[in-house]
């Protein structure tokens, strides 16, 4: 994989050199900042291909502002400091008009200072923990109120869950999300003894004790559910152990925020049957736009078995928004595009529209799906209309007074009580 990416980058560098002479004025450069090697390559390579597919399609339609789009792909290799270096390279050396990239929160935090210093524009496509709003980033993935909170609401109202296990991998996204969820559950009248929060290390595989504890916690006579922010690999042995200890989705359902079609494609889905996932997109949702997208993807990637997933749709939306903004601003200048973005709308793949909000998040529909035997999801609940993304959670004491508004306030963290903007790097 690594050699391939080096080869590709080589090709692109050669291409850039070439175009400098011939057609420098006729292309718009689009940066793609996704890991093509290392641990995150599994997920991020797909997103790189998605953007290449979108660029390809746009060029076939005649490009943008009469110019061809030219992708500049770099490989930050799942190495967080390297993300910042590669971002600087894209912005300062290649002078790209826009960057689509990052997956983990730590990689986003790593490139943030670079984008703010060089005044770049980043479209970030993954669900994340919120508590951030940068002038230079458009967040096309879900904030906690577009994924975690609706999922908890669903379990509380539709399934009648009274007792909660918040099970996560020990890092920033689960810890922040669980902090928000805990505050939310307290607000809804759930007693502290009915909430159990636990963290396990990355790649954890010996789930016996944890699952036995969940079983015990869940046998107190009240309907119990597990809200899982368990990351990646550790999910497989977790669900296997649930199956072995005979905890079915009917007894104690597990709702996951990081398990999607791509993750399920490498698994034996038998033990997962009926467990839940909350996303803003499912491949199984049957709309003409989604069908066309899946077909386009299969043709582009030359493999009819490849799945589509939520972050791919986020990139689809992000790319279309950027194109619209450039067309509206009649320029690729970051300031002009950023001014054009808020209020722009583009259709989702699953129906409805995504609208850019002043806080640089977008509106998204929320879906809850049950895992089916074929590794796809069966949608059991959808939000009424789109939910606007909230950058600063209303349920955390530190952040409920903070507001992000890049249109009127021109600030990512305006404190409504002290009436002060504490600058980009508010903590």
């Amino acid at each position: 994989m690594k050699s391939k990416s080096i080869f590709m980058t080589g090709l692109l560098v050669a291409g850039i050199g070439f175009s400098n002479v011939a057609a420098a004025q006729d292309t718009i450069k689009v940066g793609v900042l996704h890991s093509l090697s290392g641990t995150m390559a599994i997920s991020e390579t797909t997103l790189k291909d998605t953007i290449l597919m979108m660029i390809d399609a746009q060029n076939k339609k005649g490009g943008l502002l009469g110019k061809k789009l030219q992708p500049v792909v770099v490989d930050p290799a799942s190495n967080w400091p390297l993300f910042a270096e590669k971002a600087a390279q894209l912005l300062e050396k290649d002078k790209v008009a826009v960057v689509f990239g990052c997956w983990t929160s730590v990689s986003r935090k790593s490139v943030l200072p670079v984008f703010e210093k060089d005044n770049g524009l980043l479209f970030y496509p993954v669900q994340y923990e919120g508590e951030e709003s940068s002038k230079n980033v458009i967040y096309t993935g879900a904030a906690p109120n577009q994924q975690a909170i609706p999922a908890v609401d669903y379990l509380m109202k539709e399934v009648g869950v009274k007792r909660w296990v918040l099970e996560g991998t020990d890092y920033v996204y689960p810890r922040t999300t669980n902090k928000i969820l805990e505050a939310y559950l307290h607000l809804k009248g759930v007693k502290p003894e009915d909430i159990s929060i636990n963290y396990t290390p990355f790649g954890f595989s010996d789930w016996q004790t944890r699952v036995a504890a969940i079983k015990k916690f869940g046998s107190a006579g009240k309907k119990t559910a597990v809200v899982s922010t368990i990351n990646g690999d550790a999910n497989v042995p977790f669900y296997k152990e649930l199956g072995n200890q005979k905890i079915s989705a009917e007894q104690i359902p597990v709702v996951a925020f990081s398990v999607g079609e791509e993750e399920l494609s490498g698994l034996d889905t038998k033990p997962l049957l009926g467990h839940l996932a909350a996303w803003n997109y499912f491949e199984s949702i049957n709309t003409p736009a989604n069908k066309a997208f899946i077909n386009q993807w299969h043709t582009f990637i030359k493999n009819p078995k490849r799945t589509t997933n939520d972050p791919m749709e986020a990139h689809y939306i992000g790319f279309n928004l950027w194109v619209k903004a450039v067309e509206k601003a009649k320029s690729t200048d970051v300031e002009k595009v950023l001014a054009a973005l808020p209020g722009l709308e583009t259709p989702n793949l699953t129906g409805g529209t995504a609208k850019v909000l002043p806080n640089h998040h977008i509106t998204k529909p929320v879906y809850i799906g049950e895992v089916k035997g074929d590794g796809q999801f069966n949608v059991v609940w959808k939000s009424a209309g789109e939910v606007p993304g909230d950058a600063w959670s209303d349920y955390l004491p530190g952040s409920k007074d903070i507001e992000a508004d890049w249109v009127t306030l021109k600030c990512g963290n305006y404190n409504k009580v002290t009436k002060k903007c504490s600058g980009q790097n508010f903590k």
């Binding site: 599994i42 595989s205 004790t209 072995n244 698994l267 034996d268």
Partner: protein, 549 residues
């Protein structure tokens, strides 16, 4: 868990139909009606499907149980060409073996993509399970009956109780009888007769399940107005004693459970350390590619499953010798080409084998892709052995413990009782003397390394059932295996066994209090302190070889 509303109403409608089954069996009532109702399942929404299932069960047709069970297990499909509904023998097989829903006889087979599955969701499956449980109560298989009664205990209502009361006198199996008695006693607690309630409490006090305990504890609760929910003082006292006794037993069983968790974690540690105990312990080679040899074993399991898709249960047993051979051959090749030139230079060996580990990882990435591979767990290894209401042991862990002990016994026999074992020990104790006695030390080195590597491969087969099979599998276990070997005492199989087991048990004893992250750290800190005071581990090797190292 109780769903008195819809489930109860349904059952009341259903039961007369159930009773009629036996009597009108021969008439096979309304095949056409049954089929047309069945056909509606194709287009229905989930709540409609529940209603259709209800109507199906009312037909009293002899196939109802088979069809509803199939629907619950995702094995009900229709053929795209003619929309005809079939039961599929095994879920997700290709080609699927079809069963006719009317006659329940084989109806040939069809490729999986020519069929469309009739989907279910959690609430539909939950309802189906309750219905199917009623049918299963007359199953000839005691295990099925036991499962059925346990399902019925989740939602006890009058029709269900009726069914249980009628079953009790004819039930022959002791365990099933006991569960039925539990159910009836639980229901009696809601009754008005204080004496009957007292008897029920006495019956329930000998159970250990959490549900029973919760129900008994409810008797001790006070209503908002300050009066007890249970009016009779004697019943209350009996219930309090029963809850205390159940809690005591549950505490005891949870201790046993923790011990078993520790043993099973320990046996994984031991298994991954055995190979290293030979290559590192006996030969003194620091083999950083040990983890990748385990990874090869895990991938061998995957390949074997690919080769024999119809025999998943058997594939694991075939994979064990296959993994031994694959990893063993790679080990011998490593020894012959690289390690033999580096004996006595531990630092270079470490670097060279680390390089080999990277090469092996990349090779696997190139051949199988970076994505994890899905190794299917065979039927006989999933699920758990329910010993009583409080204690269940998962099969995959149980087999891992047994498997580790078998591997240990075989290794002991090979090292102590065979010619090659004698040679291995001779070379490791005094190479020059062994050579002088006519032992081909180079050949023995290759065989020893091959044996250690092969055992690593076998450990990989076990790991494929417990964790993810991917290129990084080895990396996550290499440190643990070195720790066990160093802790147990280098060059000692018993040391690896005792060391691994005690690490596993300590970890699991700490985990409920400290959490998984802290428990692991505490074990590591303990290990460091131990090595400080006893640098040669639990069982230091005696004699000359021990002193050389």
């Amino acid at each position: 868990m109780k769903q008195p509303g819809s489930g109860g109403r349904w059952l009341r409608v259903l039961l007369p139909a159930l009773w009629s089954i036996g009597h009108v069996y021969a008439q096979a009532p309304g095949d056409t009606a049954f089929l047309s109702t069945l056909g509606e399942l194709r287009e229905a929404t989930y709540s409609d499907k529940a209603a259709i299932a209800e109507r199906l069960s009312q037909t009293g047709h002899r196939s109802v149980r088979a069809v509803l069970t199939a629907l619950m297990e995702d094995r009900l499909s229709y053929r795209n060409s003619d929309q005809k509904i079939f039961i599929v023998q095994t879920a997700d097989e290709d080609p699927a073996r079809l069963i006719d829903p009317l006659t329940l006889k084989s109806a040939g087979s069809a490729p999986a993509d020519s069929l469309t599955k009739i989907g279910t969701n959690n609430s539909l499956r939950h309802t189906l399970r309750t219905v199917v449980a009623h049918f299963s109560l007359s199953s000839p298989d005691a295990a099925v009956r036991l499962e059925a009664v346990r399902d019925m205990l989740q939602s006890l209502d009058e029709p269900t109780l009726d069914l249980l009361r009628k079953r009790l006198p004819v039930e022959t199996n002791g365990a099933v009888k006991r569960e039925i008695q539990t159910g009836l006693a639980l229901a009696t607690l809601d009754g008005t007769d204080a004496k009957a309630r007292l008897e029920a409490v006495a019956t329930l006090s000998r159970r250990v399940s959490q549900d029973v305990r919760n129900r008994l504890a409810l008797l001790l609760d006070k209503s908002p107005d300050g009066s007890f929910t249970e009016p009779d003082e004697k019943v209350r006292r009996a219930a309090a004693a029963a809850v205390a006794s159940i809690d005591e037993w549950r505490g005891f069983y949870s201790g046993i459970e923790t011990l078993f968790f520790g043993l099973s974690l320990g046996s994984v540690l031991v298994l991954i350390a055995f190979g290293l105990a030979i290559t590192f312990g006996v030969m003194g080679v620091i083999n950083m590619a040990h983890g990748e040899l385990m990874m090869l074993g895990a991938y061998t399991t995957y390949v074997v499953q690919m080769i024999m898709p119809g025999h998943i249960g058997l594939s694991i047993l075939v994979a064990i010798p296959a993994a031994f051979v694959v990893a063993g051959l790679v080990g011998v090749a490593m020894e012959r080409t690289i390690i033999q030139h580096l004996y006595g230079r531990p630092l270079e060996t470490l670097l060279a084998t680390f390089g080999v580990s990277l090469v092996l990882q990349q090779a696997v990435r190139s051949i199988f892709s970076a994505q994890n591979r899905s190794v299917i767990t065979p039927e006989w290894m999933s699920g758990s052995l329910q010993l009583n209401g409080a204690l269940a042991i998962t099969y995959n862990r149980l087999y891992t413990v047994i498997f580790t002990l078998i591997v240990f016994a075989i290794l002991l026999v090979v090292l102590k009782r065979t010619r090659i074992g004698l040679d291995i020990r001779a070379v490791s104790q005094n190479r020059a003397m062994a050579k002088a006695m006519g032992i081909r030390t180079e050949w023995v080195d290759a065989m020893t390394f091959g044996l250690g590597s092969g055992i690593a491969g076998v450990a990989g087969v076990a790991l494929s059932q417990l964790t993810n099979v991917g290129p990084n599998l080895g990396q996550s276990y290499i440190i643990d295996s070195f720790l066990v070997v160093v802790f147990g005492g280098v060059g000692n199989l018993w040391g690896a066994l005792i060391g691994g087991m005690s690490m596993g048990i300590t970890n699991k004893l700490l985990e409920p209090y400290a959490g998984a992250v802290l428990a692991k750290i505490l074990v590591l800190v303990g290990l460091i302190l131990f090595i400080q005071t006893r640098p040669r581990g639990l069982f230091p090797q005696a004699g000359r070889a021990g002193e050389d190292k």
